[in-house]
């Protein structure tokens, strides 16, 4: 079942792995944006998660503590963003950029001496006989637990936003912070919580890159995954399940172009490796234009700071 040296089952199985980092970062950013906050620092939080997770995993020898450390790293960095934008009312776009620039610098500083080390292995979930089902077993039942956890997180976010009181309040804050304030909701506090959740998710996604996907530490390891995650939120029209579709789509493209590079398809490596970025632009164009454009679904207060006057 090979097409030009590429096995479809293997392709699907590996795209599910490749999609996990952007999937996590994008679902976190979706929650942040649903609360009306635009955090462009996803790339910075991801790479902080990548290095913190890597250090924690290497230090403890335990990959699970590594993921925890990654989430913590992303969350701590997001706290800076929360303080600047929610308390000091700094411009969200500029602060997000600062977060990315700072995260890239700090991570490479923290990563001194971690180059070339192998992190502890994150094992596949022992699903026993399920793994031996032909094709399906390879595609669905041979992954590490983060692949399944990421899907569960999507489901949880979807449920919370749609059915729970907290989700309703979060959406309300993102739609109209003045009205939410008038009804007595603590706009800043709710946004802070959303930002920290987004930071933790981005950090988790970053840790997955350095612990599973690559797995090692190099400077600038995220290579724009955080920005692609931001684009996926637009692609998803701020709907959780569409984040899954978007992330798998991009995971697929990444894996495919890597396979084509290995298969020596005759297309120059540089052009293949720029394809995820070009396709991101293409998708943005398709999703942003026309009558059914995604921006119609964007939270109304997105990117606006709230200051309770009188």
């Amino acid at each position: 079942m090979d097409f030009g040296g590429i096995n479809p089952a293997l392709l699907i199985a590996s795209l599910m792995v490749a999609a996990v980092p952007i999937l996590l970062a994008a679902i976190g950013e979706l929650v942040v944006e649903k609360a009306g906050v635009l955090n462009l620092g996803v790339e910075g939080m991801m790479i902080m998660g990548a290095i913190c997770g890597f250090i924690a995993a290497v230090a403890t020898g335990n990959p699970y503590l590594g993921f925890l450390g990654g989430a913590a790293g992303g969350a701590v960095l997001s706290l800076i963003f929360a303080f600047l934008t929610q308390t000091l009312l700094a411009n969200q776009v500029a602060t997000g950029l600062a977060l990315t620039l700072f995260g890239l610098g700090l991570s490479s500083l923290m990563g001194q001496g971690y180059n070339g080390i192998k992190p502890p292995l994150t094992a596949a979930v022992p699903l026993g006989p399920l793994r031996d089902i032909p094709v399906l077993g390879r595609i669905l039942f041979s992954h590490d637990w983060m692949v399944y956890a990421s899907i569960a997180i999507i489901a949880a976010v979807w449920w919370v936003l749609k059915y729970s009181r907290i989700g309703l309040v979060l959406r309300a804050v993102g739609e109209n912070h003045d009205a939410a304030h008038a009804l007595g909701y603590k706009v800043q506090r709710i946004r802070l919580a959303a930002i920290v959740f987004g930071g933790a998710m981005a950090g988790l996604g970053g840790a997955y890159i350095s612990l599973v996907r690559v797995p090692q530490w190099t400077d600038g390891i995220t290579a724009g995954a955080g920005w692609i995650a931001l684009a996926i939120v637009v692609f998803a029209s701020w709907k959780p399940w569409r984040v899954l579709v978007g992330a798998y789509l991009f995971g697929g493209i990444t894996v495919l172009q890597l396979n084509l590079q290995v298969a020596e398809s005759g297309i120059p490596v540089e052009y293949l490796s720029m394809s995820p970025y070009l396709i991101t632009i293409l998708v943005l164009v398709i999703m942003s234009s026309g009558k059914g454009r995604a921006s119609l679904n964007a939270p109304a207060a997105l990117g606006q700071n709230f200051h309770a006057s009188r």
Partner: protein, 361 residues
Amino acid sequence: MFRLERRPSPSKFWQVATPVLAVILTMIAGGVMFAILGKDPALAIRTIFWDPLFGEFAWYLRGQLLVKAGPLILIAIGLSLGFRAGIWNIGAEGQYIMGAIFGASVGLAAFPTESRLIFPAMIIAGAFGGWIWGMIPAILKTRFNTNEILVSLMLVYVAEKILSKAALGFLRNPDGAGFPGSRNFAQYPAASNPELIAGTGMHWGVVAAFIAVIFAYILLQKHMLGFQIKLAGQAPRAARFHGVDPNRLIVLCMGLSGALAGLAGVFEVAGPAGQISIDFNVGYGFTAIIVAFLGRLNPVGILLAALLMALTYIGGEMASTNLGLPSAAIQAFQGMLLFFLLAVDVLSNYRIRTFFASGAK
């Protein structure tokens, strides 16, 4: 506890004082960071901020100041116009690369012809390359409503791939024994951008940067277009009421900042860098974002901020060789500076009132 209270008018004092305060706070926090890294904080700060100007090698390093500040000024001036209008071009790094590739291509195509026209043609090609790369997000935004932040940033990665293709492929030096990288412009006088006055670091790119500062100053202070740019950023609806066409402004600002970044690229490749190589870009396009904000989007402020930022680059290199301070530390340091700047910026628009929370109130 404290509370923010909006000022009736932005404070003129704090608009000037906040960058200074931010630099001081960054030095303190940076000192803490250096101490954590096991370096003497006072010595590190001195090595970064004092020695390049007044230390042993100052005669050489002072010249480097203009070399590093030149591209930062050119790029930051362009970015600041867009930022003022609320147009977020953050892909200057890519426009810088494309400017260098376009300019170098023209120069290398002419090799080994000697003509006075080659260098000007390279400059035009460089500006055009940056302009094209800036126009892609602009046109996509005006025609398809895409987010210019994401598109311009994606194009940085694309430009980096093209750069490595250029260095390894279509611009590789045919006489280079297979090593990556193009011919060196230092050995091709008609296409090179030499130091104009020995020891100053002054090259045509620095001249262009100073012209850009003057041009931007006049534009923003005296010209209707500058007024419209400020208006569009501060009050978009009032700008439309005034008669500003937002799409025209997007095309203009993105194109201009792209062209200026492209210019920075071509001056760099023909001058200080000398050739197209895989690691040609060192992040000027991103540092320029910090420069633009640190200079409060004001042309004169940008000039000063770029010199300061150039100082941290040079001082950072010195600290790296002399003290063994990791070079990444300086990147973190620059990022920190932007944080502090954004944090203290609150003082220009708000008063801070402290109060003690009491249940009785």
